[in-house]
């Protein structure tokens, strides 16, 4: 469930980048000042372990499909929240670069969805609260299972919200949420059982690892952490609202107004935010503003179009569309030709 660049608007992507970068900075400072430097190689090597573990599959009983470990919660249990967050973030960076999982702008979203929720929500508020120190097997199982399930509901839900606020996908919110949440309920249960299996194995073989992680860092009573949490929440909400205005249907309201006033001719939909600023610049700098290629090819924004606008788009005629298609093909060919020639020259040299 990696979020992808292609579904993001710059406002949402930027907000999530800021949130993740802030959390990384905070965790780095914490790891530097609070933890012993034994954690440094441990974090690195455990990140690599997570990477390897995600490639090993197991068969899920009675379904015939296979699954693997996600690992966010496991790292939080073994390393504590700060080190776990950094480790998960580093694994996601490698995945974004080497496996093109999502892309670089979506990295902020992915780190937040997959790192923040297990490390700072489900681990301290569910796992720690239920498991306490020195847990019995049943308590440990229950705490881990619940934390994994809740974590894997929050992450996908935030994917849904990010997609929604970006406004690139046309999926309505209820449909998207109904698609994502049940699938991730199943994934969460599997993840919970796998994490239980690994944690109880380690607990039996080397109990001091799990106990040490439990005792050393009493979580809570960090005012700075609460401040950061509040700041993040505000950032997300404002980012969401701003980008919602910027890229969802800002023209819907005007469409309604037009219906009420009954005006035939409507000016182009007012847009806000980055898209609009760029669109305005585009209009100003266009070579021949009155000719068809001065306007954006397709309407810049989604949603119900005013009737007049729609007719105009349809009436722009076949010539514009044909010009668009011909131009696109030629541009593509030119781009590849450039690359090809440069490569030839390179090889000849």
């Amino acid at each position: 469930m990696h979020m992808a660049d292609a579904l993001l608007s710059p406002a949402v992507g930027g907000t999530m980048w800021a949130a993740s970068a802030g959390t990384i900075a905070y965790c780095s400072a914490k790891v530097r000042t609070e933890l012993d430097d034994r954690k440094v190689p441990l974090m690195g090597v455990l990140g690599a372990f997570l990477f390897a573990a995600q490639m090993i599959n197991f068969t899920i009983p009675a379904t015939g499909s296979s699954g693997h470990l996600g690992g966010g919660l496991l790292l939080a249990i073994l390393l504590g929240p700060y080190a776990a967050f950094l480790t998960i973030a580093s694994v996601l960076v490698v995945q974004a670069l080497f496996f093109a999982d999502g892309g670089l702008l979506a990295l902020g979203c992915n780190i937040f969805n997959m790192g923040f929720f297990p490390a700072f929500i489900t681990y301290p508020f569910i796992y720690k609260k239920i498991a306490c120190n020195n847990p019995s097997q049943i308590r440990l199982t229950f705490a881990t299972l619940l934390a994994a399930i809740v974590g894997l509901q929050l992450g996908p839900f935030s994917v849904v919200l990010e997609t929604l606020f970006s406004g690139i996908s046309a999926l309505p919110f209820p449909t998207f949420a109904l698609l994502m949440q049940p699938i991730h309920l199943a994934i969460g249960i599997v993840e919970g059982f796998v994490t239980v299996a690994v944690v109880s194995f380690v607990y039996k073989a080397r109990p001091e690892i799990v106990e040490c992680a439990m005792e050393v860092r009493p979580i809570g009573n960090h005012p700075l952490r609460n401040v950061l949490l509040a700041f993040l929440a505000v950032a997300i909400i404002t980012g969401g609202i701003v980008s919602g205005f910027a890229s969802k249907n800002p023209d819907g309201l005007e469409w309604a107004i037009a219906k009420v006033t009954g005006k035939e001719e409507l000016k182009g939909p007012e847009q806000q935010g980055l898209h609009a600023a760029l669109a305005a610049l585009q209009g100003k700098t266009a070579f021949l503003p009155d000719y068809s290629f001065g306007k954006p090819a397709e309407p810049m924004n989604a949603g119900p179009k005013p009737e007049g606008e729609k007719k105009k788009v349809a009436g722009e005629g076949i010539s514009t569309s044909v010009a668009g298609i011909v131009g696109t093909i030629i541009t593509l060919a030119l781009a590849f030709l450039c690359g090809f020639l440069l490569k030839k020259r390179n090889q000849a040299a």
Binding site: H2, A4, A6, I24, V40, P41, L42, G44, L46, G47, A48, F49, F51, A52, A53, M55, T59, P61, L69, S90, V91, V94, L97, F98, A100, D101, G103, L104, L105, T163, I168, S169, A170, L171, V194, A197, V198, F201, S247, L274, Q282, F293, P296, A297, E298, M300, A302, S319, V326, G327, I330, T331, L334, A335, F336, C338, G339, L341, K343, Q347
Partner: protein, 270 residues
């Protein structure tokens, strides 16, 4: 399902591309990181129905592949394995957005199909940019560039550590997985019980390895930083690279080049 060894080989191949020695490879990584960032943000900033205006942006990956002497077929294949999540979400657009936006004679194209195609083009461009950045820069250099641009040093150390041990641990995991597969008949033995203890063993071995590494590093005077011999210099070439590409992206963002060219060509033929 891809075998672990196959994934690892692919990983190493992509990693080895960064050892090239072309003009692009020699640039300061910061310039390449920043240009990639501008590229991705300009591409993503297009409205959801924009399609033709995004196509000229293919000039960037094409030129860098050409100048950086990268294997074009291999990179294209990597890009073609687009992020499946984006595709799954994109395929719903034609279902929910049925308003006809473009009329090509008798053929009406709905907004859903245009925005779906737009997502595919976006995905190809952004994923391509990330892979090409990696192929002409290399992971350690990207990390150091990010560190110079303000990433916390502790996180940079974490990334470099991770990168160093991915190969070691993935090979170990691959061996363990193969051993399990050879010992299980059909699907028996591939279930969750063995998986749990297999991962548990791998984890314990990892943990012991980390302790040994830590002692070895202390013995060699590790103080929490990696030192590198290579020094970066952000000179005239880097400035030119950064501003040249950024200007081009901004011009392409403001001006629909495909449409201009198409109008020109169809004007000539009329």
């Amino acid at each position: 399902m891809l075998s672990i060894d196959g994934v690892l080989l692919d990983f190493k191949r992509l990693d080895s591309l960064a050892t090239g020695n072309t003009a692009i490879h020699r640039l300061d990584p910061r310039a390449k990181v920043l240009v990639t960032l501008v590229f991705i943000v300009t591409v993503v900033s297009f409205g959801k129905y924009e399609l033709t205006a995004m196509v000229p942006f293919f000039i960037f990956p094409a030129v860098i592949i050409g100048l950086g002497n990268l294997p074009a077929g291999y990179i294209a294949k990597k890009i073609a394995l687009l992020c499946p999540f984006a595709l799954v979400v994109a395929i719903f657009n034609p279902v929910f957005d049925r308003e006809v936006l473009v009329q090509l004679g008798p053929l009406g194209i709905t907004g859903g199909w245009i925005s779906c195609a737009s997502i595919v083009v976006r995905a190809a461009l952004t994923v391509g940019a990330a892979i090409i950045l990696l192929a002409v820069t290399g992971f350690p250099a990207i990390c150091r560039a990010w560190e110079r641009l303000g990433m916390p040093p502790a996180f940079a150390v974490q990334l470099l550590f991770l990168y160093r041990y991915i190969f070691v641990l993935t090979e170990e995991g691959g061996r363990a997985s193969r051993a399990r597969a050879l010992r299980s008949c059909g699907n028996k033995g591939l279930g969750m019980r063995t998986y749990g203890s297999l991962l548990g063993h791998l984890l314990l071995r990892t943990w012991l390895r980390a302790e040994r590494i830590h002692m070895a590093m202390l013995a060699r005077g590790f103080t929490g930083e990696f030192h590198t011999r290579q020094e970066f210099r952000f000179g005239g070439r880097e400035l030119l690279f950064l501003f040249g590409w950024s200007m081009l992206f901004i011009i392409l963002r403001l001006q629909n080049f495909s449409r201009l060219l198409g109008a020109l060509v169809s004007g000539i033929f009329q």
